[in-house]
């Protein structure tokens, strides 16, 4: 008990330290702008240039990273003026959050800051995409992530398995995921160590599942307990919170991460985001990516090995186009993936996870996954 108390104190301190650190970064940027104004120079701040042209694949680390190209936001530039104003508003508001130790969703900060300007035809923000984009600017300028600005997006994703978490922001509730019934635990949008602590896990690996239906199937089949697995149902493209959690299990607990998706370009991209990060959040790959993650399936090979040809679907024109683009992605430049993509394009078929139900409901849990995982039949 005594030991625990000490740990708790340290944790809280870290949390406060972080807030102070980020707040002082915002203060530094603001002071710089004020000093420019004093000197009657054009008020300017720097942020990273985003978009494809400034994203590179770091082969050594195996993650997507933002390049070094910076771009300036200049108040006196007609095209920047509004964004500049919006950024100062978001900076000021998050500064308050950090000082008061409050957190808000990105929708909440949007509503908190939205009001009409001047005669009333124009608003500080016309819609949430504007404030979202400014938040990203600020993340880059302050060299931090939105979670550390005390902001968060909408939560998505579910967690199940033998893992114990502690919610330090909420009475230090401590709970094991096997005791939460079939629903498991809803992954929060903020999964920062300062707030959620991974207390203990006996799992051997993390299984990331694309569809919620497959996640529920595996919970029902008691797959987690039987295989000492942590199940993360991401429900399509993984949200930030889920990605952060998977990353932490990978990094803090040193667990292998296996990704199980539909065998189509969308599924492959979900995998690649878990593994090396996304274009949009390339700057934060260090917080989010799991470069050693492995791909379980579905694969073209599976269709032949498990005689699933009858339950495949035809690839749509867009799918083929996307698959052809993926052939050129830096992180797919290895023989297994090139073969997989080329065969898919050639055969023109895609296969869903749930097509395995064609064999039987239990097939995925009792046969398919164990065979793939134990036999290490992965794509890199």
């Amino acid at each position: 008990m005594v030991k625990k108390k000490t740990k708790k104190k340290t944790q809280k301190k870290t949390n406060k330290d972080n807030a102070e650190k980020v707040a002082s970064k915002i203060e530094k940027i603001s002071k710089e702008i004020v000093s420019q104004i004093k000197k009657e120079e054009s008020p300017t701040f720097l942020t990273s240039q985003r978009g494809r042209s400034n994203v590179e694949f770091d082969e050594k680390k195996g993650v997507l990273q933002l390049g070094e190209k910076m771009t300036s936001r200049n108040f006196l530039n007609l095209g920047h003026a509004k964004k500049f104003m919006q950024t100062t508003l978001v900076a000021s508001k998050t500064f308050d959050y950090l000082k008061k130790n409050k957190t808000a969703s990105i929708r909440e900060i949007y509503y908190e800051l939205k009001h009409s300007l001047g005669s009333g035809k124009e608003n500080t923000f016309e819609d949430q995409t504007e404030s979202d984009s400014v938040i990203v600017d600020l993340e880059h300028s302050a060299e931090t992530i939105r979670e550390k600005l005390n902001l968060h997006a909408n939560p998505k994703g579910a967690l199940y398995g033998d893992i114990t978490l502690k919610d330090k922001m909420h009475n230090n509730d401590t709970f094991n995921m096997l005791q939460l019934g079939r629903g498991g635990w809803s992954i929060m949008s903020r999964m920062e160590p300062e707030e959620i602590e991974i207390v203990k896990t006996n799992a051997k690996y993390v299984l990331v599942i694309e569809t919620s239906a497959m996640y529920e199937r595996l919970v029902e089949e008691d797959f987690a307990k039987k295989n000492k697995a942590i199940l993360v149902g991401v429900g399509g493209q993984a949200a930030r919170g889920a990605r952060r959690l998977i990353h932490r299990l990978y990094k803090e607990e040193n667990l292998p991460v296996y990704v199980f998706t539909d065998g189509d370009p969308y599924g492959w991209y979900i995998y690649s985001v878990i593994k090396q990060g996304s274009m949009a959040l390339a700057a934060h790959s260090g917080f989010l990516a799991c470069p050693k993650a492995k791909y379980i399936g579905m694969t073209i090979e599976d269709i032949h090995d498990y005689e699933l040809k009858e339950v495949t679907e035809k690839m749509k024109v867009g799918d083929v186009k996307r698959a052809k683009e993926m052939l050129n992605y830096a992180w797919f430049q290895n023989k297994p993936w090139q073969d997989e993509l080329k065969r898919s394009i050639k055969e023109g078929v895609r296969i869903e996870q749930q097509a395995l139900a064609n064999k039987s409901l239990e097939f995925v849990a009792e046969t398919y996954l164990p065979e793939k995982i134990n036999g290490k039949k992965f794509l890199p």
Partner: protein, 557 residues
């Protein structure tokens, strides 16, 4: 000190007699005396033109008052008073009681009064419609003023003067009071008021006061006090003369021989050309010009055509001047922007010198009221400073305005733009179309000059419109920046503790500098207030003082 006034008595020498009273009765159309509204405008035109011409010939800055009273249904009295040289007992009869008494029809000189038939036409029309005499009060610089009533003997075309009285008070100028029936007054674009407004624009040296039948009042102030340079009488160029004109001229010449008549009374005819003509005609050039037959005249004209003469002398033309048009458009039209051009004299049809002046007024009160809201294109046409109000759609000026691609100059729709186009056509020989003398023929050279000057005006207007739009845009941008500044100041204050007011002031200053607004606005203001000419704008009532000042300004220049 004073410039010498040319005495009225001297002017009188030039009057010559004709018996055309009967002709008048039958040809009212040709004289512009048809249509109830048009007739009234024409009468006003005749009186006002006489006044302006008389004043200018005597170096007097014209003060003209026009009053119209409604006496009954389609029954009006027109009273025109000027401060001109005045008439004497000898000359007043010819001026008001004898048709075609002047020599206007035979002189190659640029003048306003090429339309109509003069003040006597008014007398004739008055007695024909009301049976009443015209009342005249007139006085010269010397002697006493006289008042009288006058009518015309329609058969003999001679004045009948009654009630002649000497007036005891001092009066210089002429006041005519005439009554007319079958005429109508309207405040329309062809009515007397619009006529006077345009006359004032083209005659910035004149002060014109108007009082209408419904109590309407208008005062068009003098914007410059320099009397236009007198148009010189020009000899006709041999290439600009018809057989008929040659014969008319031969009747009035002082020359005793055809050879000297051709040499003296025409422009650019020297001894060499006379020798050439001699070889080309079948009769003896020593003949008395008064005896020239039609056929002989034809021979001369044919000979003229075969000879290369130097292009006509253009010295005799008297334009208003760019700056003066600019000034009066600014004063009377009150637009936002004015551009004017006086082109160099040119020659049309080989023998007729002419000159074009174009002004364009944009924004403000320019243009005429459109049917719906807003304003639309207004074309003001003038021939030798006299407004052409009628037959608006036809003639070279209207055609030239229509032919310009206004779209190029940012003018999309002529029906919805505050734009006034002013065109003054100057020539001793205005090529009118039709007897009404309200439209100018579209001779190639005239069209070319019109188009060139209109396009130049168009370009200048386009520049102005663009600059104005840019200015508007800048102000909009400033508004945008200014809306953001308080937000930024508040946010930065919250984070850094810096004073909001300080940040706001500094940021506003930065924005202003960035947009260069201060500089731009200054430029605009300067342009607006920059005096166009050093001449006086105020009216001057005493003639002595007026001339002193005039002299000074001339010397200063």
């Amino acid at each position: 000190m004073a410039m010498e006034h040319i005495q009225a008595e001297e002017l009188a020498k030039e009057f010559k007699e004709h018996s055309v009273a009967e002709f008048f009765k039958k040809n009212k159309q040709m004289l512009g005396l048809y249509g109830k509204i048009r007739t009234m405008t024409t009468i006003v035109h005749e009186y006002v033109t006489n006044s302006l011409d008389a004043c200018e010939e005597s170096n007097i800055l014209p003060n003209i008052e026009v009053q119209i009273k409604e006496l009954g249904n389609e029954y009006y009295e027109i009273i025109v008073t000027d401060n001109g040289p005045g008439l004497t007992e000898k000359t007043v009869g010819k001026a008001f009681g004898q048709l075609l008494a002047g020599t206007k029809f035979h002189r190659m000189i640029q003048m306003r009064g090429q339309q109509g038939i003069g003040a006597s036409g008014g007398t004739m029309l008055s007695q024909m419609t009301t049976g009443k005499a015209v009342k005249v009060l007139t006085g010269t610089e010397k002697g006493k003023a006289i008042s009288l009533e006058i009518t015309i003997d329609p058969k003999k075309n001679v004045p009948k003067i009654t009630n002649m009285q000497t007036v005891e008070r001092k009066f210089q100028g002429t006041k005519v009071q005439a009554k007319f029936k079958d005429v109508i007054y309207r405040d329309s674009s062809t009515g007397p008021l619009e006529y006077l407004r345009r006359t004032a624009i083209a005659n910035p040296h004149a002060r014109i006061k108007f009082k209408g039948p419904k109590g309407q009042k208008a005062l068009f102030k003098r914007t410059i006090k320099i009397i236009p340079k007198k148009a010189k009488e020009m000899k006709p160029h041999p290439h600009g003369v018809t057989v008929d004109e040659l014969i008319s001229m031969s009747k009035y010449t002082d020359a005793k021989k055809v050879a000297s008549f051709l040499k003296n009374d025409f422009d650019r005819t020297g001894s060499t050309s006379i020798e050439k003509i001699e070889k080309k005609v079948k009769f003896d050039l020593n003949k008395d010009p008064k005896q020239l037959s039609w056929q002989e005249s034809e021979e001369i004209i044919k000979a003229f055509k075969k000879i290369d003469f130097i292009a006509p002398n253009t010295d005799g033309l008297s334009p208003i001047g760019e700056n003066r048009i600019k000034k009066s458009l600014n004063a009377i039209v009150a637009p936002e922007f004015v551009h004017t051009i006086t082109r160099k004299p040119k020659v049309y049809a080989g023998g007729f010198p002419f000159q074009i002046e174009v002004g364009i007024a944009y924004g403000g009160n320019a243009g005429k009221k459109a049917d719906g809201e807003g304003r639309s294109l207004e074309i003001m046409r003038f021939a030798n400073r006299a407004p052409l109000l009628f037959d608006a759609g036809s003639g070279a000026i209207s055609k030239a305005v229509q032919s310009v691609e206004w779209k190029r100059y940012g003018v999309r729709d002529l029906d919805s733009i505050p734009l006034t186009v002013f065109v003054n056509f100057i020539s001793a020989h205005v090529p009118y179309m039709g007897a009404g003398k309200q439209a100018i023929a579209d001779e190639d050279e005239i069209m070319e000059e019109l188009r060139l000057s209109l396009m130049d005006c168009g370009r200048k207007t386009a520049t102005y419109i663009k600059r104005k739009l840019r200015e508007k845009e800048r102000l909009m941008q400033q508004d945008m920046f200014y809306k953001y500044i308080p937000e930024i100041a508040r946010a930065l204050k919250n984070i850094t503790g810096e004073k909001e007011e300080f940040l706001t002031t500094k940021l506003e200053k930065l924005v202003k500098e960035k947009l260069g607004l201060e500089k731009l606005q200054e430029n605009l203001k300067q342009e607006e207030t920059e005096p166009l000419e050093n001449e006086v704008i105020e009216e001057v009532e005493t003639s002595g003082e007026k001339e002193d000042k005039e002299k000074n300004t001339k010397e200063n220049k």
